[in-house]
Symmetry: C2
Subunit: 340 residues, 2 copies
DNA sequence: CTGAAAGCGCTAACAT
DNA sequence: ATGTTAGCGCTTTCAG
């Protein structure tokens, strides 16, 4: 595999052309202070004329930084990728990164081999940090990265005692307030469709539901809980199940937007009017329901905020040697769009 | 923005520990031939013990290669990203790249600023090549990259006279054979729903339709052609339009899978039976229709093949200085899933 | 304010 | 078969 690249003009050549030393050129292209304006201009002209572009590998070697961060996708089944939620996150990260001058690199880690390959890539100082999304409970990658002392920030956590920095939404609180809202509106027979219960996020939302029910003196037996895998189809199935078990249902907390849409379909298929007979609230992980069900009340997670928070944490990790984990829990917001 | 990385053990330290020269260590970690088995083992032990990981920046600088290729997304509206088609392509590229030891990096280029940033990244020898997908007709990035002499391969072309290497499907032939198939089955009143006609792929498919119609002595006036933007909704609208203009329609070539599904909805809404009254064929850019309309006949593009072909071209470009553009047109295949 | 010089960690050509 | 050496192009002290 013999690859080559010709290699354009070097900093040295620019220096010669501008009649200055290499150090000066370096200062100019790095916008460092302490260069006479006239010299700066001279250098800039030389750069223009030669079409000089800094060799990032050299810069990286000398400066011990890569000016790039990786967004790592460990999703084994690739579906994740195709979700609006994800592209929203990427957009928000891209925006947040815009003024740092760092490149955002997406990398896919589906197998152990790829995990290893990425680890070497990271340890080889090709990125300054890693951002992980949708990490499954058993994934060892975050720990591997942390051990390699690579600044790392996850979106969501793997469990209650996460020991890697992360940004997460207040899932418990969000669920709690959604259920409280239903209770306030007089609903009493409230069921919930959860996400996959081996995911911490799903556990948290279920906990929020239970807490709110308990506070109101309502029970929350197993039969009022149905599990989904966040997809529309599973939401539909779960709702049908719940209806069968409890025809008296008048409120539902759904695991996600998509699930909520599925639930609505099942409800309508069963002849229930929404929201008159049954009120549904979902977490809007993605802006999906907003399109298909504009009147649906949702627990909103501030996606743009997530991107900003992740980058902020990452920069902090890069600044100081990681003496501690940093966690940010973002507040969720109940967006009431229909009378329920 | 002060970033640092401690910097682990270096090749030199490994050499000392193993009691050999640096060159030897380099040979061992690069699996180069000509090292005595015993020495090799000694070096490997030292590597283990020290937890040595090569600094890729240094390797990149010395070796003039990056061992990474970028997959660049220029889609201004980000939707592309969320399509199964895309994740399928990524998977196939990842697989094709697996044994080359190169990292696949996705980068997003949404604005001019980002375009510039990526260009510098590429020119800075951080990637050995670029893969571009869904490039719009006016996008200057491919030319910028080619000018920078970075090996570049596109998926699809911007026009008939593309001067950057690319892999494309035989869109004209695919459309032609689909229409021929309809004609063979006795259909005569065949319309087509095209993609956005400012995209070359859409033009090609339209041409294929026209050629097949002409061959059969059939006309293909403007009124039998409706434009879509590849979405389901636009497919529905286009079909409704066509039905209004030509209630006698008995066959349709749709721009894509998604469009075809939309068309089916419109047909059914209008009381037409499919395929009895009207036969529909779409291009399966994504495996979507396969799920929702398992009986739909489609023009299949071999997605895995596309990934392999792109990587092969890229490697060739890297091997030899680009003395010419390389093009690969992949054959499409008509998959008949329903009697039409 | 600016030039000179010392690396950064590795590869590859040249010795041995 | 292996050690030695000369860079790769840049950042960063350290003098001036």
């Amino acid at each position: 595999m013999g690859r080559r690249r010709p290699g354009g003009p070097t900093l040295e050549e620019v220096a010669v052309r501008a009649g200055v030393g290499r150090g000066t050129v370096s200062r100019v292209i790095n916008n460092a202070a302490g260069v006479k304006a006239s010299t700066r201009r001279a250098v800039q002209r030389a750069v223009e004329e030669l079409g000089y572009v800094p060799n990032l590998a050299a810069r990286s070697l000398a400066g011990r930084r890569a000016d790039a961060v990786a967004l790592v996708l460990t999703e084994p089944d690739w579906r994740q990728f195709a979700e609006p939620f994800f592209s929203e996150i990427v957009r928000s990260l891209g925006d947040a990164l815009a003024d740092t001058g760092m490149q955002l690199l997406l990398t896919l880690v589906r197998s152990d081999a790829e995990r290893q390959r990425f680890l070497e890539y990271a340890r080889g100082v090709r990125v300054d940090g890693a951002l992980l999304v949708s990490v499954h409970a058993g994934d060892p990658l975050p720990d591997m990265l942390a051990e390699a002392r690579l600044p790392t920030v996850m979106l969501g956590r793997r469990s209650g005692e996460e020991h890697v920095s992360y940004v997460d939404a207040d899932n418990v609180g969000g669920a709690r307030s959604a259920v409280a809202h239903l209770l306030e509106r007089g609903r009493r027979e409230i069921a919930t469709i959860t996400g996959p219960l081996d995911m911490y996020v799903a556990q948290c939302r279920l906990r929020g539901y239970r807490e709110a029910m308990a506070t109101a003196g309502q029970g929350s037996e197993r039969s009022w809980v149905a599990e989904s895998d966040f997809t529309q189809e599973s939401g539909r199935r779960a709702m049908a199940e719940l209806l069968e078990r409890h025809p008296e249902i008048d409120g539902v907390l759904a695991a996600s937007d998509t699930t909520a849409v599925g639930a609505l379909q099942a409800l309508r298929a069963a002849g229930r009017r929404v929201p008159e007979d049954v009120a549904v609230i979902g977490f809007d992980d993605f802006p999906l329901a907003e399109q298909t069900e504009p009147r649906l009340t949702t627990v909103r997670q501030p996606l743009e905020e997530i991107g900003r928070a992740m980058i902020r944490l990452l920069l902090e990790e890069m600044e100081e040697p990681a003496v501690a984990w940093r966690h940010v829990i973002l507040r969720t917001e109940l967006v009431v769009r229909e009378s329920s």
